[in-house]
């Protein structure tokens, strides 16, 4: 599975309240949830983001509460993947379960600039800069994670499997 897109950059410890403010926890509809993506950042991200874009962030992306809406908001706003130095435990799970590819690579936040275009080969574990061809390697996700992502999320995956 290959992904390519333009990068939005964020720093360390982007928490779930920044990604999806608590006051919207009553919403579960993906369209509605997506409207508030990154609202806590106050940078108008929801209006700027294009389908297929990528986020590159620093350490501990998604720290804070276990709210699934944080991962849902990013996925349904059209983000193709989140690449970060590291992720919080619950965000990582929630992203995979909602079919949003997440890639943890130490040092990626220093390696990439905002606006750069990246190509990500999820199964091979390669991130490539489209302009320069420079590459960064990561350990690809095991088959199970890929299967969940490819199925469109954990519910779909297990629904199929249980048939």
């Amino acid at each position: 599975m290959n992904i390519s897109g333009k990068v939005w950059k964020y720093g360390d410890n982007i928490d779930t309240d920044v990604i999806y403010p608590g006051k919207y926890l009553v919403h579960f509809d993906p369209e509605e949830v997506a409207k508030h993506v990154m609202e806590g950042m106050g940078d108008g991200f929801a209006e700027k983001v294009q389908k297929g874009d990528l986020i590159v962030a620093g350490q501990n992306f998604g720290t804070g509460s276990a709210r699934e809406q944080a991962a849902m908001a990013l996925r349904y706003a059209g983000l193709a993947a989140i690449l970060a130095d590291s992720f919080s435990r619950t965000f990582f799970r929630n992203a995979i379960n909602n079919a949003l590819p997440v890639v943890a690579v130490k040092g990626i936040s220093k390696w990439v600039e905002e606006g750069e275009e990246l190509e990500v080969e999820l199964t091979k574990g390669i991130i490539r800069k489209v302009n320069t061809g420079e590459e960064l390697k990561f350990i690809p996700h095991p088959q199970l994670i890929m299967d969940i992502v490819n199925a469109g999320g954990a519910i779909n995956y297990y629904k199929e499997k249980n048939k």
Binding site: R67, E68, S88, R89, I139, I155, K161
Partner: protein, 421 residues
């Protein structure tokens, strides 16, 4: 290479001989705990899964505790959804209000936790089950629904950090103080995503109540699980709680590997406190002394157990609390409530001027039965002091041991329990 406790549990549940940190495995789940927030929460993903029954082999335990008895109509609706789900799924272990208490305590005392099990819940403090050697962890509602409907879940095998608590525990220093000390020590996310394994002579000298406090509070260090090494004390507790059901203790291999091993000597430890507004904001109680308190809260799944109530009763016998303080006592379960009544603790609390509530999350989660107003200060034996956790976002919460909570209730200001006898 040998395995540590969580690696052994995960390998077994994944049907493998061994696992290593970083590996992703699919594990069978033994039990799912649900409460009155989680049960309504899982309805949507559970239905989306297209199943209408709980997977074979999964034990589902439902314990309404957060908003009980219902304090709003919305809570009543959620409790109704919870009750109806329990009925529809023919859940045997449904603990109606008055017959259970705070979920994690009920899980432990009613024998729903066995060493070596994997137990998940839509509640972060499921790490408490590690006190009996089980891998307990909190998850989002999608994960919990999948565990319930399929009996399986994927997990990343975590790195494990081992902490050996050694030395001699000074008087007036408890498991809670050790927890707050460790929170201060590991505040830079050193334990994030990790499994914390606890051992050392101090652990083996500790009651189950204290071990449960440690495993509960460990969650605030960002751990995925906290596994306490089993011993004769675990064994004695399990024999009673499981009423003869078979179980096997899990211990780490001699040559198990860890990301890091720390020896923490507690001999010089002093009563600790978490300053507002985060549990890792650790200080000594001495440093916070003199701060006026409006409310003192003794309760929660962290410190609402018999041992905690005993400390409080011993300190309050024949005494009254400061007229400026509301002391709220919430026994962690009905069983504890009853025992405390038989032992005469409740009378001591009443005579001292305390208010006793039913066994509920109540004040701990800022739901009901003890919210604080703007500008008010609460010293609490619970596990979280986030801004607004217990009411107004302009209030302040300090976390400390039951002894420090009671000492402060007596004097009306934050007080080191070593000074009150």
């Amino acid at each position: 290479m040998g395995m540590n406790i969580i690696e052994k549990i995960m390998a077994k549940h994944a049907g493998k001989d061994s696992v290593v940190p970083g590996e992703i495995v699919e594990c069978a789940v033994d039990a799912v705990m649900l409460h009155d927030v989680g049960t309504p929460g899982i309805q949507r993903p559970f239905n989306a899964l297209g199943t209408d029954k709980i997977a074979d082999g999964v034990d589902c335990i439902i314990i309404p505790d957060h908003f009980v008895p219902a304090n709003t109509v919305a809570a009543a609706e959620n409790l109704k959804i919870t009750r109806e789900f329990a009925e529809r799924m023919s859940i045997e272990n449904y603990y109606e209000i008055g017959r259970g208490g705070i979920c994690h305590q009920v899980m432990m005392e009613k024998g729903h936790v066995k060493p070596g099990q994997i137990i998940v819940a839509p509640d972060s403090h499921a790490t408490t089950y590690g006190a009996a050697g089980a891998f307990g962890t909190g998850l989002g509602v999608t994960d919990v629904a999948i565990a319930l409907g399929t009996g399986k879940l994927w997990f990343v095998v975590p790195e494990t950090v081992r902490v050996n608590l050694t030395g001699k525990l000074p008087e007036w220093v408890s498991a809670k103080d050790i927890s707050i000390y460790l929170l201060g020590k590991f505040k830079d996310g050193e334990l994030l995503y990790r499994s914390l394994e606890l051992g050392g002579n101090i652990i083996h000298e500790m009651s189950m109540d204290s071990r449960e406090c440690l495993a509960d509070m460990a969650l605030e260090m960002g751990v995925k699980a906290c596994l306490v090494e089993c011993d004769e004390i675990t064994d004695a507790y399990l024999k009673k709680a499981l009423k003869g059901e078979p179980y096997e203790l899990v211990t780490p291999d001699q040559d198990a590997s860890y990301e890091a091993v720390y020896d923490v000597d507690v001999s010089d430890m002093v009563p600790m406190i978490s300053m507002p507004h985060t549990p890792s904001n650790a200080a000594t109680v001495k440093e916070a002394e003199g701060k006026k308190v409006n409310q003192a809260f003794l309760g929660s799944c962290t410190n609402g157990r018999m041992e905690d109530l005993k400390i409080a009763a011993d300190m309050l016998r024949g005494k009254t609390i400061s007229p400026k303080v509301r002391l709220i006592v919430t026994p962690a379960s009905n069983e504890i409530y009853n025992k405390a009544m038989e032992k005469g603790y409740l009378k001591i609390f009443m005579d001292a001027g305390a208010t006793i509530t039913n066994a509920t999350c109540g004040a701990c989660v800022g739901g009901h039965l003890g919210l604080i107003a703007a500008g008010e200060v609460c010293i609490s034996s619970s596990n979280r002091n986030f801004r607004g956790r217990m009411g107004s976002k302009d209030g302040e919460i300090y976390l400390a041991s039951p002894a420090a909570v009671i000492a402060s209730a007596i004097t009306g200001e934050i007080t080191d329990p070593r000074g009150v006898s």
